[in-house]
Symmetry: C2
Subunit: 200 residues, 2 copies
């Protein structure tokens, strides 16, 4: 914050800094950009934010983002309905779709287990996932939660919760990134890559 | 863009990606953050953007941002009025203020010379700078434009334009960053650091 600038500028910089991935310097550059942008562009941006806040809902089936009804993936007839990939948030869907490796359905938990933050199983969309297994003929559940403490804990919890169901439960593999050199891989990843080694 | 999400989400991601320093993945994370944030926080953000767009003006003296009249720095009686530091944009003021090295006045050019983009001397606030030299008893002009092609060209142009005036013109020094190791400094910086070497 600088007394060099009007309060309104400092306030906007502060509010933008609260966004994920925006540090104080980015926030400042974005503020100057907003100042210099044509009025119409900024009006469009404000309207887009308003529309997202008022019109976006969670899909009643998988909890992905939707504009009211069932989401674009659940309602796509070309999708393989025998597989459900479980992700923590909509960003997980983007990542999987970007990879092009998967054409099945999703289930969004809207978080990961974190006892410290008071996030238990009831805070996540786990009940809805179990309900989907009773009718639909699902053969495989792919656990694609993050490889963080919360994501791993959630994957372990789900593995157990899914045991009573007649469904194959898999987890994305851990290991050395493609193109990664052994020298530059962190110790934990290399340990996992060794544990999970497979027949060549 | 993914058919996986409603159009309103994709539109906001696209608009945010147009901001400086926000790539498509940041834009997506910010969009999800906006979705999850309490309504009041987002209303505050929208109001802050609106206020910046409607209330912020350029200072009539130095072209810094102001809320209508003379900016916070020009109207601060504690400032050394014998020095003017010339920067390309308000971000230059932030950087200089952060350094704590300077307590004089500023002049914001609102850009840098760039013939390719049609930015000549008339597009910058150079006339206003020259006008400030006639009365105020300014002893030194510090050229603090960027060390890019545009910034260097602007500094050279200003050096010449300021020759008729009875004022010392200086430029920020170039060289190896503090804490920088010679091995990791780029070639051009090292060449400059050698050229500009000073008595130890």
């Amino acid at each position: 914050m600088h007394k060099a600038f009007p309060d309104s500028i400092n306030r906007l910089i502060k509010e933008l800094s609260a966004m994920p991935g925006i540090g104080p310097r980015s926030a400042e550059r974005i503020t100057f950009h907003i100042l210099q942008s044509p009025r119409e562009n900024i009006i469009d941006l404000l309207n887009s934010i308003k529309e997202v806040k008022t019109s976006v809902r969670f899909c009643g089936v998988c909890s992905n983002l939707s504009d009211g009804g069932t989401c674009g993936i659940c309602s796509d007839p070309a999708r393989d309905r025998t597989r459900i990939c479980v992700v923590e948030g909509p960003g997980g869907i983007t990542a999987m779709e970007r990879s092009g490796a998967y054409r099945g359905l999703y289930h969004v938990l809207l978080g990961a287990l974190s006892p410290i933050d008071g996030v238990g199983p009831d805070e996540l969309r786990i009940g809805g996932l179990l309900k989907r297994l009773s009718g639909e003929g699902v053969a495989e559940i792919i656990l694609a939660t993050d490889f963080t403490t919360g994501g791993e804990t959630t994957a372990m919890y789900l593995k157990r919760a899914l045991e009573p169901f007649n469904v194959t439960v898999t987890r994305l593999s851990r290991g050395v990134p493609v193109g990664g050199s052994l020298e530059y891989v962190d110790i934990a990843t290399l340990q996992r890559a060794f544990e999970d080694r497979r027949k060549a």
